[in-house]
């Protein structure tokens, strides 16, 4: 079991009001699964993804990553997990605009402590795998949305993480580029990565091993297909 959560609750304080984004989430995900998370806007999907990606901590409940309880892991090791174990892909790409494509992709490798030469070599290879070898020195602003998302994926996988988390990766894309992106995820799944993808797209959902429906911070269909 690569991921399992026990009754995860996440509350946000907005002044005096408490917003319950997650109200007791139990999920179990096996290594190598492709899981789709679906649900209406505001239902807590992103919140869950952030917790799974070790970017946020739950208000209550337990999260086990590789059978280790995340709340007990030290900060420095969490950073290492974000760096090596998890690749995050966002709806809005989140590339650094002032860095070129190569530097953007090299970023996780830099935080792993790899030398510039090694980083460049790996970045080029990974960029090739998403079909953008010729854009190494371009700035993100010079690329189309679909291309930018491919760069973001390249960055997410550059350290060969076992888990890839994608939060509505095709949300800002037209159908064609969206399909390109999805086929990349499909390939990554075939290569053995565990993939969790938030989507509204039925086509994606069909490719998934299973679909988790979230409504109002709660799972609707449980853990089964």
């Amino acid at each position: 079991m690569i991921i399992s959560t026990g009754n995860i609750i996440k509350n946000y304080k907005m002044g005096k009001v408490i917003v319950s984004a997650l109200r007791g989430i139990d999920i179990e995900i096996q290594k190598g699964e492709l899981v789709a998370i679906m649900g209406p806007s505001g239902s807590g999907k992103s919140t869950l993804m952030h917790i799974l990606g070790c970017l946020d901590t739950p208000t209550a409940g337990k999260y086990f990553l590789n059978n280790e309880e995340v709340s007990k892991i030290k900060k420095a090791k969490l950073a290492k997990i974000r760096n090596k174990e998890i690749g995050f892909v966002f709806q809005t790409f989140n590339l650094l605009p002032h860095l070129n494509i190569q530097k953007n992709i090299e970023m996780p490798l830099m935080y792993s402590g790899l030398s510039g030469r090694k980083r460049a070599k790996i970045a080029k290879k990974v960029l090739g795998s998403v079909g953008l070898s010729d854009r190494l020195k371009h700035k993100p602003s010079e690329l189309s949305g679909g291309q930018r998302q491919r760069v973001a994926i390249a960055r997410a996988i550059v350290n060969n993480p076992s888990i890839i988390l994608a939060d509505e990766p095709t949300g800002n894309l037209d159908t064609t580029s969206g399909n390109d992106i999805l086929s990349i995820f499909s390939d990554l799944h075939t290569q053995g990565h565990t993939i969790i993808i938030v989507t509204h797209d039925q086509a994606v959902a069909k490719k998934a091993n299973r679909i988790i429906h979230i409504v109002d911070g709660l799972i609707q269909n449980g853990n089964t297909l």
Partner: protein, 408 residues
């Protein structure tokens, strides 16, 4: 493990480069600050060196000068000059004095063949040469026999030699001085020191080259005819004992003039001390001023860095997402701030040094920024970066990644 220092520098540089205008604005204050540190400290050093050089040229730190205090108006008409008897009395009272030399001044006409020259003459004793540490270039200086025998001899300055003799050798020649025949027995060494200040002669010591010297006794008996000694100089055995000797002389002379401070008694050592103290005060004041302006500069830098971090909130979120540790973020921004101020410091040092050469040329003082001055300037600028960068860097490293990612 934090990402390597080299990496932080590279990231820092590329960040600065992509925000050139902001970097420039941030850097300006530091450039001006370090520049002023370089210029003022070097100026201070230069002036001090020049002053010491001057004092050394004028007989060193063991020298004490007694001359009329022109600011003092005696109500009882106490004599403003010394008699030779008084000088001898004073001399007998201060065995601490290694040398003593009274001076009678006059301004006279010299002629040799068809050449005439008007210039100052000094009636002196043999000690003069030792006190002023100034000897003859050729021939000899006035000796004890000359004094005792009222010899009609003269030692001339290089300027006088040039005016009267041109290329001719003056030693042994007879010239007319103030209507009397005197024989040239020596030529003083030529004196030169580069003049500071934009105006006037190139040679700050050219007035010395115009002087001639004759035995004091000859001057009294055959020259001015009166026994009026305008001033005298004393030399202590060393610079450290000069202040005590000065005090003793002051007491003796005050006594001779019935408690009226008709004369001013100055020791070069104490003048040098006073000068150093004034310069120290000036340096401290300057440091306070530059510290305040640096503080203001630091606040500006801090605010710019805070704005930068706010603007780059999303970037910080992204970096944390891909594996940056808190320390990585902290050092990224701290090093960047230090890099800015260091860069400003370097530019400031270089512009300070280049300005220095102009100031140096203008004031005719040899000015150079020594290693210590440069070190101070660089240390101050780096320190400023550290101090003003630490709070923004801490704030950056404490950002919540999820909130940072939501930041527009």
């Amino acid at each position: 493990m934090v990402i390597p220092f080299k990496e932080s520098i590279i990231v820092g540089f590329s960040d600065l480069w992509s925000r050139k205008i902001r970097t420039l604005v941030t850097i300006t204050g530091i450039i001006l600050g370090t520049m002023s540190i370089i210029v003022v400290l070097s100026l201070m050093n230069g002036i001090q060196k020049k002053t010491m050089e001057w004092m050394m040229e004028r007989g060193g730190l063991a020298k004490i000068t007694v001359r009329r205090d022109w600011n003092y108006e005696s109500p009882t008409n106490e004599p403003k000059v010394f008699t030779l008897r008084e000088i001898n009395l004073i001399k007998s009272l201060v065995p601490e004095a290694k040398y003593m030399n009274p001076v009678i001044r006059a301004y006279i006409k010299y002629s040799y063949k068809k050449n005439n020259y008007w210039g100052p003459v000094r009636g002196v004793l043999t000690d003069f040469s030792a006190i002023e540490e100034w000897d003859v270039e050729k021939g000899r200086f006035i000796n004890e026999i000359d004094i005792r025998e009222y010899s009609d001899v003269i030692v001339i300055g290089t300027k006088v030699k040039e005016e009267l003799f041109g290329n001719e050798d003056p030693i042994g020649k007879w010239i007319t001085a103030h209507g009397k025949r005197v024989q040239v027995i020596g030529i003083m060494k030529h004196r030169f020191m580069e003049n500071s200040g934009a105006v006037g002669n190139d040679n700050a010591l050219s007035y010395l080259n115009r002087r001639c010297f004759i035995p004091l006794s000859t001057m009294v008996r055959k020259g001015t005819g009166n026994d009026e000694i305008n001033s005298f100089t004393v030399k202590a055995y060393d610079a450290n004992s000069a202040p005590d000797l000065r005090e003793k002389l002051e007491a003796i002379i005050l006594n001779l003039r019935h408690g009226e401070p008709v004369f001013r008694i100055e020791s070069a050592q104490e003048e040098a001390e006073k000068m150093k103290q004034q310069q120290l005060i000036f340096t401290i004041i300057f440091f306070l001023i530059s510290a305040i302006s640096m503080l203001v500069g630091g606040i500006v830098i801090m605010n710019i860095m805070l704005a930068t971090i706010k603007e780059r909130t999303r970037e910080i979120g992204i970096r944390i997402t891909v594996g940056a540790k808190r320390n990585d973020i902290f050092f990224q921004f701290l090093i960047q701030t230090i890099l800015i101020t260091f860069l400003g410091g370097i530019v400031g040092v270089f512009s300070g040094i280049s300005i220095l050469s102009y100031v140096s040329e203008y004031l005719k003082i040899e000015l150079f920024a020594n290693a210590f001055t440069i070190l101070i300037a660089i240390t101050v600028s780096v320190g400023l970066g550290m101090v003003s960068g630490i709070i923004p860097a801490i704030m950056a490293s404490r950002l919540n990644p999820v909130e940072a990612l939501r930041y527009e």
